[in-house]
Amino acid sequence: MTTATAATPPASDSQTPRKPVSVLRQALRLTRTEFTLFYRYQMALYSAALPLIFLLPLSVFEPYDVLPGVDTTVLSLTWFFPIAALTVGLSHVPNVYAIRRERLILKRLRVSGVTPAAIFTSTVLSVFSVVVVQTVLVAALLAALKEVFPTAPVLFLVSLALTTVVMVLLGVLIANFARNGESAQIISMVPFFLLIMLSGLFVPVDLLPDGIAMTIGLLPMLPAVRLAQSAYLGYDLFDGISNAEAATGVDLWLAAGPSLLILVAWMVLLTLLLRIFQWDPRVNK
């Protein structure tokens, strides 16, 4: 073992006192840059527009009523809100994180004093902005075509925000296991299709055996869809369409409680798991 000892201390070793910059300030600043980049990379714009393709099949089928004032078109359009968060969260986020890690952009940010919390928060904020824009478009469509307006807007926004956080964190976690942008996209396909299939529209969860239905209900997407639809339409849809009852105000919030809890639990779990996120592409790869 070789030791190289320090020379005499220099005359001035008084260090300037430095405050760490707050997480929020860093997060907001990074979000601003995110918008600049979003605008300059057409790919990102494309990925923001991607969820809208889920609206195409709507024009093909003849709608019929499932509940008073709710036909299949309305149900699909309200299904779309959390799907927007899922699509941007699982298609854009893993790709961007894998690429930025590979190009050492994330490492560069970390080594210059940016916290993981600020980086993750900026992604949540920018993805949420995109989701909000899509939400406004679809809400306008619902109002124009069907004269349907959100019944419980606060609950609706809270659940949409929670869904976005969960999907972004999941996207970052997926990126952690990918070597590069391409593999991130391939890996994220599996949870993406799994979650979309089990989001209530394609597989009739009500008709499945209890055990399986309950397991699906513990995954984040079914609670997210039911929260969005219930809050938007003013029905308690948490036990499925067949058991739906009109609900508003406190009743609706109480009915929403378990689903909100499931999303919060996912958020906490994923936040804890993200402590293992590797910022340096060479580590363990």
């Binding site: 190289a4 005499t8 910059v21 930025r100 560069r108 080594v111 004093g113």
Partner: protein, 324 residues
């Protein structure tokens, strides 16, 4: 040395650092310290473990054995006490390609506490005329300079520079040396890796040469070089065979073949006084030549260069660790 005085005079403390990738040990027992206002150069062959050592100091890896401390704090995971005080130029730069030079600097400024002015940074790294260009359009050397600008704008107390001048032309390299020196003068503790030995000679207060995960030689430039010995060499006269050459006090003889000629090379390593040892070795050589009426062609005596030491380390000649 008690802990308080150690903390005051030591910014970076690396002790018996080991770092493995699976079963491959990339760093094998490296130790060194760096004081505030001091530049420590980490030299070595490709794959010697320099970047791995720096990445550990930057807090991206936990040592498999041994410890690293910055101002007495474990840097793993970039704790908040250290975060604003450390910055780095990575071996490869990670910048947002679509931002302009000014936008990149402004982003870095807004993410830091009490940064340098944008104009000041642009001037320091000589990029004022590229301010509106995108990062994507910059040349390799310009990117390197922007990277350095982003690292110094937070006025860090500890600065890691992993091959900061790679890809720069000689003039820009000299400009960059000035920037680095000013950081040291400001009181920053700097760890620099480089493959340009002249750079280390110019900038380093102390240096270490690594090979295969270990520090093989370390000390100040003059310590490293003088401990390596002075060289006396001349073209071997054609009618003299090597075993006829005299033994010189404190010197070892090797025969080099360069072109059509053989050269006698004496390395003078031992001697009571390093300042006069070559004088004492030369005297008997000249006397020997005079007795045989030989004119020693191209006779030369010079101290070893850092390059001599580096090459010896790289060829694995330095197997005993040299401690100064």
């Amino acid at each position: 040395m008690n802990t308080t005085s150690q903390n005051r005079s030591v910014a970076i403390h690396v002790s018996d650092l080991h770092q493995s990738y699976g079963s491959f040990e990339a760093v094998r027992g490296v130790s060194f310290t760096v004081a505030p206002g001091e530049l420590f150069a980490l030299l070595g062959t490709n794959g010697a473990g320099k970047t791995t050592t720096i990445e550990t100091l930057e807090g991206f890896r936990r040592p498999t054995r041994g410890s690293v401390r910055i101002f007495g704090i474990d840097p793993f995971g970039q704790p908040p006490e250290l975060r604003p005080r450390v910055n780095a130029v990575l071996q490869h730069s990670g910048l947002f390609e679509e931002l302009t030079v000014t936008e990149s600097i402004e982003l870095a400024r807004d993410l830091a506490d009490d940064p340098m002015d944008t104009a000041e940074v642009l001037e320091a790294v000589v990029l004022a005329d590229k301010a509106r260009n995108t990062v994507r359009s910059l040349s390799g050397g310009e990117r390197r300079r922007l990277d350095l600008g982003l690292a110094i704008l937070t006025r860090p107390d500890v600065l890691f520079l992993d091959e900061p001048t790679t890809g720069m032309d000689p003039e820009m390299r000299r400009e960059t040396w000035k920037i680095i020196s000013s950081q040291v003068a400001r009181g920053a503790a700097v760890v620099l890796t480089t493959h340009y030995l002249e750079e280390a000679e110019r900038l380093a207060d102390r240096l270490a040469i690594m090979h295969r995960g270990e520090i093989r030689v370390s000390g100040t430039v003059s310590e490293v070089v003088s401990q390596w010995g002075d060289r006396i060499s001349f073209r071997l006269p054609s009618h003299i065979r090597s075993r006829e050459l005299p033994e010189l006090p404190g010197a070892e003889l090797t025969i080099d073949v360069r072109g059509d000629h053989q050269w006698a090379v004496y390395t003078v390593t031992t001697g009571t006084d390093p300042a006069t040892r070559t004088h004492h070795a030369l005297l008997p050589l000249l006397k020997w030549a005079e007795e045989r009426s030989l004119d020693l062609e191209r006779l030369e005596s010079r101290p070893a260069s850092l390059e001599d030491v580096f090459l010896a380390v790289a060829q694995g000649d330095v197997t005993d660790l040299v401690d100064l």
